[in-house]
């Protein structure tokens, strides 16, 4: 049976340099406006008054997210043409020839992974650098990370061994699609929620 892989994101170590994002675009020649891997800058908190002074309680952390090649990929489930498919090795890939560019997969994916290429009129997405994996090399984003905050490993092993459930804000409930993602959350992620934090670089990362 082919090996299945998860991404590991160490949000506590990520400095938000976006080398992973740039490496992905460079490796795949991804068009302007499309980001297969995106670094979300999450910011929140505020200040509280203490006597005559103000005490800062602001926080910020980064989250590098690409396609998680889910166990239950809703993009493949809803795709009307069967262009979006999950291979035996767990990689979820889009067949450009079959794609009609209806963007239904982009609506359905809670991670914003499938992205529409206006020029081609078709969807595009992270391939987990399948060609590099075949050569025994790591994906471009993992190789480019100077903080070693990105890694990849056997599916389920990272989560099982270390309890790294990917449910920090603003990630969706992992029960929806069983993402191939293990997350070491930033210490401030437990303070973040829909009413206390937000994506600070929304214009950059949300198409």
């Amino acid at each position: 049976m082919a090996r299945r892989r998860d991404f590991l994101v160490d949000s506590a170590s990520c400095s938000g340099c976006k080398a992973c994002q740039a490496a992905c675009k460079d490796r795949h020649g991804v068009a302007v406006g499309i980001l297969w891997r995106r670094v979300y800058e999450i910011a929140g908190g505020g200040w509280t008054r203490d006597g005559s002074g103000l005490v800062p309680q602001v926080f910020a952390y980064n989250l590098s997210i690409a396609c998680n090649h889910c166990e239950e990929p809703i993009c493949a489930e809803v795709c009307p043409t069967g262009a979006m498919r999950r291979r035996e090795d767990g990689l979820v890939l889009v067949d450009a020839e079959r794609c009609v560019g209806c963007r239904y997969c982009a609506w359905a994916c809670p991670y914003g992974a499938p992205q529409y290429d206006e020029t081609a009129g078709r969807m595009t997405k992270c391939t987990f650098c399948a060609d590099l994996l075949d050569q025994g090399l790591p994906p471009a984003c993992v190789a480019a990370c100077p903080m070693r905050a990105l890694d990849f490993g056997e599916r389920g092993a990272l989560e099982a061994e270390r309890g790294l459930r990917p449910d920090a804000f603003p990630l969706p409930d992992p029960g929806l699609t069983s993402p191939g993602l293990a997350l070491i959350p930033h210490r401030d992620a437990r303070r973040a929620g829909p009413t206390t934090a937000g994506v600070a670089n929304r214009e950059e990362v949300i198409p």
Partner: protein
Amino acid sequence: MRERSLVAFTLLAQTAVGAFLTLCALDLWAEQLPGVPAALVVPDRGFLAVAGLMGAALLVSLLHLGTPRSAWRAVANLRASWLSREVLSALLFAGCAALVAAHRWTGAPGAAVLGAALRIFAAASGVGLLLAMAGVYRLRTVPAWDTPWTVVSFCATASLLGALPVGAALGLAPALPADLAAGPLKWIAAAGAAGFVAEIAGALGARRGPGALSRPAARTVRLVLLAAGLVLCLPAILGLAPAAACVAGAWCAALAAQVQGRYTFYAEGLRRTL
């Protein structure tokens, strides 16, 4: 907004289904009337208009695709994809509605059974289309859409935009005696009123879903339009004088409310956190 063509597609298709079901009901009612030709109550051009609306809906839906020439592939995943099922049922409904229109237009003699069979098949595929359209948006990953209000709202749209104009045309038709039209007009107005009540309940009660608007001003405008439409249905339900004109007015209010509501539906559902 990228989804403009889908606003048009969903509204046109739901209008076509609602109008078709209303015309079929009127046709059945007319057959019971002694001495009144069915074509006087439901003119052939009524079914022709439904087929035209559905054809226009299908054409408009192509504008949403990045590669429209490959649109035929969209029925390849019937096993799992509600979008495939929607496309198939839309094609079936369009085809059957066109056949019903052609059958009525040509007046094929001795083919009453065929006509009835076509109408039943078209009605079934129309109802299937409404359910498949709702299924497309009942995505477990999109909380704003994954609610029963999506189904209710799509059925209400079929009632408001499909039945009300048929009622107005029936009431305003010069060839049909006003007292004869009053009966079905009352039921059509009642169906419209039910649609307005459902949409108002959705807009007031649902925290999420197609009835919920995040912008208070837009929510107020929609509620005013829906309430105005509901009030305009009352004269026809009560059998008061300007019934047909009021039903026509209710349809105008419904059209404005549903166009605005559908834009909001997409805006709310596609607002992303990631």
